[in-house]
């Protein structure tokens, strides 16, 4: 699971009103290089919750994303490189995602988050 996916994931347990963003517990990360596509990054940028991305990156030890961003930064090669790396190249292979409201852990194994809810959660 990459941070782009993390940015869209939310805990939808019945009754939970504040299930976003999920916390990350990482026990194994993997970096897989991919081609940087500035156009794609510019397109995806407005959809992202920047704070969620930055905090998530931070919790994985990726400290190169600035706290505040502006669209003009998308012209900066260094920024794009760091943005691309955090968003698309770092994979959470083993660990868990944690609901910020209930503390419910969604395990991540072999890179796959299991977001299935129990019967009493739906």
């Amino acid at each position: 699971m990459r941070l782009i996916t993390h940015n869209m994931l939310s805990c939808n347990i019945k009754g939970v009103t504040n299930g976003y963003p999920l916390g990350i517990e990482a026990s194994r990360l993997e970096t897989k290089e991919s081609e940087l596509n500035p156009e794609f990054l510019r397109k995806i940028f407005p959809k992202l919750e920047w704070k969620a991305l930055r905090d998530a990156a931070h919790s994985l030890g990726l400290n190169d994303l600035p706290e505040h961003v502006e669209p003009s930064m998308l012209e900066d090669a260094d920024f794009l490189k760091n943005f691309h790396h955090a968003l698309l190249e770092v994979h959470l292979e083993e660990g868990a995602l944690i609901c910020p409201e209930t503390g419910r852990r969604f395990p991540v194994t072999k890179g796959v988050p299991n977001m299935l809810l129990n019967e009493d959660e739906v």
Binding site: M1, R2, I4, T5, N7, M8, L9, S10, C11, N12, K14, Y20, E39, F40, R42, K43, I44, K47, F106, K110, G111, V112, P113, N114, M115, L116, L117, E119, V122
Partner: protein, 740 residues
Amino acid sequence: MLSGAGISKRKELELFGRERMQDGQEERRRSSSSSSCFVKPSRFAMEEPTAHLYVANCGPAVGIPISVIRDAFSMFGRVTSVLQPAGDSSGSRVYVSYVNVSDAVAARQAWNGRPCDLLQGRVMLIQHAVPQQQQPPVEAQVPVFTLTKDIDIPGLSLYTDFISPEDEQELLTAVDAEQWTTLAKRRVQHYGYEFLYKTRNVDKNQKLGGLPLSVEPVLSKVALLSEMTHAKEPSLPLDQLTVNEYPRGVGLSPHIDTHSAFQGSIISLSLAGPCIMEFRKYKKKTATPVDEISHVPDLQEMSHQEDGVNDQEVANLRQLNMEMERKALFLPQRSLLIMSEEARYAWHHYIPHHKLDDINGQIVSRGPRRVSFTFRKVRSGPCTCIFPEQCDSQQPHLSTLFPSNDDNVREPCTTTSEDAYNEISYCATLSCNSETENSSESSSKTVPSLVKPFNSVTPEIEKTYVHKVYDAIAPHFSSTRFAKWPKVALFLNSLEAGSVIADAGCGNGKYLGLNPKCLFVGCDISPPLVEICTQQGHEALVADALHLPYRTGFCDAAISIAVLHHLSNEGRRVRAIEELLRVVHKKGKVLITVWAVEQEDKKLLSKWTPLTCKYMDEWVDDVGTKFKQNLSTSSLGSIKEGSNEDLKELTLEKDLVEQQEYFVPWHLPYHRAEVGGASAAAVASGLAKKDDTKRAVVYNRYYHCFVEGELERLVSGVPGARIIDQFYDKSNWCVVIERL
């Protein structure tokens, strides 16, 4: 042997029932293949004995060569021929013809329904048959040639004993020392470029390296052949090698190697064992107007099949007004086959899934394995062959799209030759009793409320007959699911670059990444299927389509392909639509496809098991059924809470209304079922049944098939949804929705 009259009577009745099913099956096949040599007399007519016998449960496929059958039956008198039924790829039925009627009668009396010592104790089912006058029996079998000069396919050459046994051993030792990749049924190694089964092409930018040194002597010898030195289109230097190891009994689905992938000749060296290779060419039957080009890919689709010709294929051909020419060539051990020009570009090649090959009466056993070395040259530039109908360079949509009915018509293991058995096993297993459905008992039963409230807890029927089944069949299911449906591809390709697409119920992920300019996130409730997605490098997670774990409005588009029909009540189907809409932003698009009751191939319905009353009442609401009722009797959209009176009427008329709830079988071949694994447990718990005849574990999947207008009605009821397109295609109902 002890056999009381009562017992033998019962046995006869059982056989009788089975035979009747086979009759039906045989007749269907006969009518479609038009090249049968015998027909059986009607079961109910007084049988006039003939000199010909139809013998079931006996033949090469069950380990009894034709010559052995002939010898055995000869003990009753002179046998003139032993033939396999036309179009029967099962290899487990034969026609035995005597000179004298009395000999045939004696053989039938002695062996029908009893173990036969001369034939490994097999119990055969024997009936008299009559020859069909119109056609000569010769057409019954695909002719097998041993010389390419006789087979008369331009561009085909065969060199026998191309290398010495010592060189063969050296080559085998060399490849066995390397790493094999395991496919569904065989193992492979790729050199030069990896052949990608998903695209059926190579990635020209990913060169693996040169070909192994061990094949150098073969390459130098090949380079001297006249096919190479006088080639119209150069094949040298050969730069791609795929080594295939076929275990005994495993074949190769019919296909033409992708034109745009390779140029020149395809050269294949057979080692370790022989086989036959069948060549098939499809041609227009008569001078009717040319079919639309979009129909042509249906033929490509066949390459995904697991076996030879089936009903669907025949139906396809008929629909296209095409016919198929079939010829086979025997490939001995250590022979070299060269396919060039027409043989390479226009003929499908196919290796039947047999352990024994019948070379014009001589039975040849395949070895414990056959290892083929296939040498090809990766193409530079587009293909400009003179066979545009098969050419993906000249018809670009052929290159990535191998349309199928998307999950639909093609149940890969239903190798149809044995479907007769199939249908019986379902009738017996599930015993859907139409009598109870009409009985006064059921109509006076307590009436369930018309629309069950949305139940967020997954019903048992879905857990048992959808989730558990996909978990158990995942790898096999996936290995049969790379055909992409053009309408889905069209939708995905129409999306803007940079779009985020949620595939809810992504299965093995065949649509993930289809549009390389977009970002796909797949989810499925089956962890084994999701694992397959991630192994392919796709982003996917385990989640329920009714509770998507995405924040609202994030996605630009969502797709739900062949998912909603697995949900067992209307509340849940509506909920799934709501979830798809929730996760896309305003103006975001959603594509939904579901199986239709209105199947293009009506015969399929007869292979499915209508749900029994028990399941209907306990697990499935039947609003769909009532909706259909309403459509025909009153105006649309006025589904009111019915009075008991109404419901009684509905129940009584139930069997007049279209059946929508089905169990659809999935055949997991024994060799794909893990020993002691999920399938053993499934059989033990009654979830699946073993079918020894088909050598498969049979699972049932639950389906709610949609009637015309039903999907539209569900979508219209969801706030914020606007239907922008709806269509029926390939037995699916489909809608494209925009979120308002």
